[in-house]
């Protein structure tokens, strides 16, 4: 799998020269394996992705973790949606109540957006997900609900014995008993267990988290403990706060790695990063 980061900022796009290193676009990751193109979340980063998608791509699968605006705001600006030669599949969490299609229509309607879903040249195919396993092309995928306000999924993508885990918005401390000592009772464990590369929410410092419990995000320290419990090979901290500058993100990284030797690689995710799994 080839993995490219088009956005790793949380909550709100944060353009500006002080954010040059880590980027300002919100959640969007492209995963390609052979002819299969999967996009994880449709944050503002998906606009640029759409411009760079090759003309040979005829089918795209967008897997939404949830429908918070920072994960969907780029959808209407994704050029392939206006290309009748490209089939777009939208996957996202089921609620068991209102269909995903209806919830997506809220975005594709005034005053949020002028174009309706029904006005697109080819209506995207919508797929609802819960805790389940399925495949797209040569990629095996596991989706599971996670601890975050509203229906929110994490995704585990496996191909050629390599696994990527994507958990961009996750309050692991609230979704765990006796954290980090009880994997069976920890939200997201199966998604991340033994992953070669884990993207995980690390929005806050430990001090900030105390005042933001219940908001649905994790501290960097909890992300490290979670990754350690899951025995991942590499952790990429995701969902940088929009107010955080490059300098501050790097300072948080230095504080995090100073806390101990975790036995796996740790980085702060940056827009433009590319990984080969």
């Amino acid at each position: 799998m080839k993995v490219r980061i088009w956005g790793c900022r949380g909550s709100l796009p944060a353009p500006g020269p002080e954010n040059y290193r880590y980027g300002g676009n919100t959640s969007c990751i492209q995963v390609t394996e052979g002819d299969t193109c999967i996009i994880l979340d449709a944050g503002s980063g998906i606009m640029r992705l759409g411009r760079f998608l090759g003309p040979t791509v005829k089918e795209v699968h967008i897997l939404l973790t949830h429908l918070h605006i920072d994960h969907t705001m780029g959808l209407g600006f994704f050029q392939p949606l206006y290309n009748p030669n490209v089939k777009v599949h939208l996957w996202g969490p089921s609620t068991g109540q209102e269909p995903l299609l209806h919830r997506l229509r809220r975005y594709f309607s005034p005053p949020l957006f002028p174009v309706k879903l029904s006005e697109l040249p080819m209506h995207p195919e919508v797929h609802e997900l819960g805790d389940e396993e399925f495949s797209i092309g040569g990629i095996k995928i596991l989706s599971q609900f996670l601890c975050h306000p509203g229906p929110t999924l994490g995704y585990r993508l496996t191909a050629n014995q390599k696994t990527l885990a994507y958990i961009p918005d996750h309050e692991v401390m609230l979704g765990s008993s006796d954290f980090p000592h009880d994997p069976e009772w920890t939200s997201g464990f199966e998604i991340a267990n033994g992953a070669d590369l884990l993207f995980h929410d690390g929005a806050y410092s430990s001090k900030e988290y105390v005042g933001k419990m219940g908001w649905g995000h994790s501290s960097i320290r909890d992300a490290l403990l979670f990754a350690n419990m899951c025995k991942v090979k590499k952790l990429s901290i995701f969902h940088h706060e929009p107010t955080r500058t490059d300098e501050q993100i790097e300072s948080m990284y230095r504080d995090a790695v100073r806390e101990g030797n975790f036995g796996f690689e740790i980085e702060m995710c940056a827009e433009g990063n590319v990984y080969e799994l």
Binding site: S94, F145, C147, P151
Partner: protein, 131 residues
């Protein structure tokens, strides 16, 4: 080891934060968790026992009527909720392993996940008095 679904994890977290006895069971009736106040009813510590299979905890938790006659499983609220997937309630006596007899009131409700998946049930007790 497969992890528990989020709904059960959060149910356990909720129960763990209550000062009322609480049991959490899976759809087969296996005991997944009981909180600290429930330890008093059992006479056991969850940290020592962990979860228990149905046949195991059914030998410990023996509800009776006023005269000490065992109640049929079908008459117990938790069993009703597991079989019908609807809330139930009831009152009965239980003897703990430490020999304390209590009169308790219990309310049970099903745990049905977002995708309408039936994941188990939760029972919340109120101990009226020790006999």
């Amino acid at each position: 080891m497969p992890a528990q679904p989020l709904e059960l994890i959060l149910a356990r977290q909720f129960g763990d934060s209550l000062n009322l006895p609480m049991f959490l069971v899976d759809p087969e009736g296996n005991l997944l968790f009981y909180n600290e106040p429930a330890e008093e009813i059992f006479g056991l510590k969850f940290n020592e026992t962990g979860g228990m299979r149905l046949e195991e905890w059914a030998t410990i938790f023996k509800p009776t009527d006023q005269d000490g006659n065992p109640l049929t499983p079908e008459s117990l609220p938790l069993v009703k909720t597991l079989s019908t997937k609807i809330p139930a309630n009831g009152e009965f006596y239980v003897d703990s392993l430490t020999g304390i007899r209590s009169y308790i009131s219990v309310s049970t409700f099903p745990i049905v996940g977002r995708t309408k998946r039936f994941l188990g049930a939760m029972a919340i007790f109120l101990k009226s008095h020790e006999v």
